[in-house]
């Protein structure tokens, strides 16, 4: 029996959820110890006896058994989850309580509440995401550090501070709470940031995982009536439609291919189909959120057979709405590129020139790169080269740098072949 790839990561998240349900979130370190103990036992036994047929059930049985020990032993020394009250004190009710906590639906419910708890508005967004990744996705500090280009020590500190804050209350966030709606927005934003971190990151080993985890957690939101709102459907649709392009976005060598040049046969048809059906389901109610608009843009790309076949007129309109709903220089940049596709490079350059607050794009390599692209199409190769070089100089990672340097060399090759 082989190990399925994310077994320990997935089970870590599920076991932590079940154990904190019993122990209370203030006893998170205890839950982590129990999970680690179960993992150590798994290594010791599986290495000599082989992996059992159902390794997830095996780990769960071991963790449950250990939890029973812990509750019996520390009954007087600790307080556990207030929801269980006195149920943990009597042997008659202790075992059924544990069985209940380890039920699949209870684990799912617990993960949802944990997600809301991690996205505490008093925590900075990067701490929220680090906690979600650590507690709900089973990522270690070193993996989170490599995804965020931060040091391991910094991430460990961030997680420790966040956990301290969670431990201040033994209760997890209650979805029946009147704050649920407001907190949902924070959760959604954290998931979208997590997704973008994966989508734009360059560590190829972690990248796809982050996107996948953001979609998985978003899908959990869709399974609970209180959180399955139209905007949640739109967010998950958006993430699926964008994730569908991942296989074409980076090649085997880790080189970046922009949307306009991607081989569309490599897009994931299942994710596109799923994304489109979620987008359909998001079209209820009377609120049009930025997630709806961004998902509609992603859908327009996903359903176009080629760049020429793309409905650029519709995409520009969607960007116009997005600029009203959630204006930002990066959205304006994307809009200008779409204008360039619709009306030609001259119009694209004008649209780029009319972006407000371009100083906020000062560290964003795709702004000069977009200008360079329009100039290249207009035949102004010298100016294009200058802009691509400027873009390469502020590239945020190796893949971006290689891509932009390739543009520079393509331009200079073009100068050599065209007579003055």
């Amino acid at each position: 029996m082989e190990l399925s790839e994310p077994l320990f990561r997935r089970e870590h998240a599920r076991l932590i959820a079940a154990l904190t349900r019993i122990f209370g979130v203030h006893n998170l370190p205890l839950a982590e110890d129990v999970v680690q103990d179960a993992f150590c036992r798994a290594l010791e036994i599986w290495k000599v006896r082989g992996v059992p047929d159902n390794p997830a059930a095996w780990l769960m049985a071991v963790a449950k058994h250990r939890a029973l020990d812990v509750v019996r032993r520390e009954q007087t020394a600790r307080t556990f989850a207030p929801e269980y009250g006195r149920m943990l004190e009597s042997e008659w009710t202790l075992v059924p309580a544990l069985d209940e906590a380890f039920r699949l639906s209870a684990i799912q419910d617990e993960q949802l509440r944990m997600m809301f708890t991690c996205c505490h508005p008093q925590l900075p967004e990067e701490a929220q995401i680090a906690l979600v990744l650590n507690i709900l996705c089973g990522f270690g500090a070193s993996e989170i550090a490599s995804a965020f280009l931060a040091s391991r020590a910094a991430i460990e500190k961030r997680i420790a501070r966040g956990k301290k804050m969670l431990a201040a209350s033994p209760r997890l966030f209650d979805l029946a709470d009147s704050d649920c709606r407001a907190r949902l927005s924070t959760v959604e934003r954290a998931l979208y940031l997590l997704f973008n971190e994966g989508y734009h990151g360059t560590d190829t080993t972690v990248r796809g995982d982050l996107c996948h985890e953001a979609i998985r957690l978003g899908s959990l939101l869709l399974e609970a009536p209180r959180t399955a709102l139209p905007e949640t459907f739109a967010l998950v649709a958006l993430m699926c439609l964008q994730a569908a392009r991942l296989p074409a976005r980076l090649d085997a060598a880790g080189d970046l291919t922009p949307l306009l040049e991607q081989e569309r046969s490599r897009w994931d048809p299942q994710l596109i189909e799923h994304g489109l059906s979620l987008l359909d389901r998001s079209a209820t109610g009377d609120v049009l959120t930025p997630y709806h608009l961004e998902a509609a843009i992603a859908a327009a790309h996903a359903t176009a057979r080629s760049v020429d076949d793309t409905d650029w007129r519709q995409i520009v309109e969607l960007y116009d709405h997005l600029m009203e709903a959630a204006p930002s220089p990066v959205i304006a940049l994307s809009r200008a590129i779409a204008v360039g596709q619709r009306d030609g490079p001259r119009a694209g350059l004008d649209a780029l020139a009319s972006i407000d607050e371009t100083d906020r794009l000062g560290r964003y390599p795709f702004y000069p790169a977009a200008i360079g692209e329009m100039q290249r199409r207009l035949g102004d190769v010298d100016a294009a080269t200058r802009n691509f070089s400027a873009a390469a100089a502020i590239a945020r990672n190796a893949a971006e740098r290689r891509f932009l340097e390739r543009r520079v060399s393509e331009c200079s090759a073009a100068t050599k072949t065209t007579p003055p």
């Binding site: 082989e2 790839e5 798994a42 010791e44 000599v48």
Partner: protein
Amino acid sequence: MSHFLYLYRMTEKARQDAMGEPQRAQDNMQRWIAWMHDLQAKGHLKDGGQPLERTGKVVRGQQKSVTDGPYTEAKDVVGGYTIVDARDIDQAVELSRGCPILDGGGSVEVRPVMKMDF
């Protein structure tokens, strides 16, 4: 061919570190499984052996005094054993070099099983 006993030893800290984060746990498990598979595929695995709990009792001396043991956190404790078939001690040692416990700072003690037929 002769039989050799591999005794796996490591400290409690090394044991926990090996499975400390899910990804590391996954990697370690995979390497152990691969190593065991390899021993088996090449016909060296006589008996996969048994894992041992890290604590128990030690009965000692004429007084037959009973203490808890093995003791301290820092000490290498036997965590299990495996019996392999090898040509000689050199080959048994060579085979043990692939054991993942070594990368985690643990050790494999290789002991020939005494032959009964002279």
